[in-house]
């Protein structure tokens, strides 16, 4: 009986510690921008899901490809159908680690780099991206912009539209995290 009590206390301690280390954001904003001689293309979504473990410094993003909104709906259709093939590859995912040691318990803004694997269009690639992490009370804000070469993820741009779509697109991520609760 005593041991059970001990066990329960220990287990409770573990799980509560976990909860405090976990921060999540269910409406992470992501956008990308393609600039080319003929056309600037921009798309955005606020349907990204993201989480940070402040202890292990793990960071995770997951975004439904078909949630990206374009100015031109036809373009959005082609993005899903011809380029990202969102029926086959419905999500883009990033699993990484924060390389620096920002003090999550203290308010402030910390420049960081994050290294991890980005999966787009079913193809993994390792990236190291710069960003900032700010903490304010119990919320954490993450901002980052990095470049993705579309060819690295097996996305082919036909020669016909090569003037319209850039080879390298700038991806911007912005999330405001709160302590994770189920």
């Amino acid at each position: 009986m005593k041991y059970w009590l001990l066990f329960m206390t220990a287990w409770l301690a573990v799980s509560t510690a976990d909860a405090q280390e976990l921060y999540s954001c269910k409406n992470t904003r992501l956008s990308f921008f393609s600039s080319s001689p003929l056309e600037d293309i921009e798309a955005k979504t606020d349907k990204g899901a993201s989480a940070i473990n402040t202890k292990t410094k793990d960071i995770f993003f997951k975004v439904p490809i078909n949630s990206f909104q374009f100015k031109k709906k036809l373009m959005q259709e082609h993005f899903n159908e011809n380029y990202l093939e969102s029926d086959k590859y419905p999500f883009a995912e990033f699993k990484g680690k924060i390389n620096d040691s920002p003090e999550f318990s203290k308010n402030g803004t910390y420049p960081v780099t994050v290294t991890g694997t980005l999966n787009i269009h079913g193809i993994d690639k390792t990236y190291t991206a710069k960003g900032t992490i700010s903490t304010q009370g119990s919320t954490i804000t993450v901002n980052s912009t990095f470049n993705v070469r579309v060819a690295d993820h097996g996305i082919k741009i036909p020669s016909l539209v090569v003037q319209n779509v850039a080879e390298v697109v700038a991806v911007t991520v912005n999330g405001i995290y709160t302590p994770y609760s189920k």
Binding site: F7, D18, K71, L74, K95, L160
Partner: protein, 314 residues
């Protein structure tokens, strides 16, 4: 001993919680019905409508052209396999009021009994197929009204003799049911009702037809199309036309290749019918594939997004 095992157990649980990883937190987040896109690349299949719609505030500029007979009496090398002639030409502006409602106006030459045709059309999509089969098919209805601007003929038994203005009108009502199978094959059934206010003697004012069409996707931007209509014309009418005028009615069969190039969809078509509008090609096809009376043609669709900036900022 018991303490040790308890601590061990705690460690195991705690490592499990760590290794479980952040990605598991969001596993249950997305369970919505995703709509099936691109059953066809365009709002038309070969001649007839598809269940595809224009998006809200999209303008579609369409040009369709049908050349002369490839073979037979009017084809061959002297007309360069029909290229010197045109049996029908249509220019149209169509517009998406919402993602499921589109309207349009067009002018066509007319390849049947009547010429100089002005058309107003409307199409509404009730249902869109979803990937999880929550909605198994896409369902749309299409309707149009066509008026002929040609001068009335003198032969009172001909379709082109107009007693008054209403004789110039023709209508089509059509239901379209589509399903995309395994991302490659799309099938459509199209029960169609054609009404022509004034027709030639012994022709039929009201005609029911059943259309069937398919697309086989060859690559991301290329599709093979086939379309067939079976009009239920009365035997009496068929016999009369055959006996008195030597005219046989044939069922319209169209084949096509659909090529998507960014904002354009380009379809190369081969059809036995001479005309483009449903009002004519369903009841008035008297040309046969087997006698070389088929023609090539094309449909070009160019889509423009209007008010894109305004809608996007919302």
């Amino acid at each position: 001993m018991k303490i040790v095992s308890t601590i061990l157990l705690c460690c195991i649980i705690s490592t499990y919680a760590q290794a479980q990883g952040l990605d598991k937190l969001f596993d249950s987040t997305t369970a919505t019905h995703t709509r099936v896109r691109d059953t066809y690349k365009s709002t038309r299949i070969v001649q007839g409508q598809s269940t595809e719609m224009l998006r809200k505030h999209e303008l579609d500029f369409r040009v369709a052209h049908r050349f002369g007979d490839v073979g037979g009496e009017f084809g061959g090398s002297k007309t360069f396999f029909g290229t010197d002639n045109s049996t029908d030409i249509r220019i149209a502006f169509e517009y998406g009021i919402s993602d499921n409602l589109m309207v349009g106006i067009s002018r066509s030459k007319g390849g049947g009994d009547l010429q100089q045709l002005y058309e107003g059309l409307i199409k509404y999509r009730f249902l869109q197929q979803t990937t999880d089969d929550h909605v198994p098919v896409s369902l749309a209805v299409f309707g149009n009204a066509v008026i002929s601007g040609m001068t009335s003929g003198t032969d009172k038994t001909a379709a082109s003799h107009f007693e008054d203005g209403s004789d110039r009108l023709m209508y089509v009502t059509q239901a379209l049911v589509s399903r995309k199978f395994a991302n490659r094959l799309s099938l459509t059934l199209a029960p169609t009702y054609v009404h022509r206010n004034h027709v030639a003697y012994m022709d039929v004012n009201n005609l029911f037809a059943l259309g069937a069409a398919a697309r086989l996707k060859l690559s991301k931007r290329l599709g093979l199309l086939a379309e067939y209509y079976y009009p239920f014309r009365s035997q009496e009418s068929k016999d009369y036309f055959k006996a008195t005028k030597g005219i046989t009615f044939y069922n319209p069969l169209g084949l096509g290749l659909e090529i998507e190039t960014g904002g354009h969809v380009f379809s190369i078509t081969f059809t036995n019918s001479t005309s483009i509008l449903e009002n004519q090609f369903i009841p008035e096809t008297t040309t046969s594939w087997l006698q070389g009376q088929f023609r090539w043609g094309f449909n070009i669709s160019r889509r423009f997004t209007l008010f894109g900036k305004k809608d996007w900022k919302k």
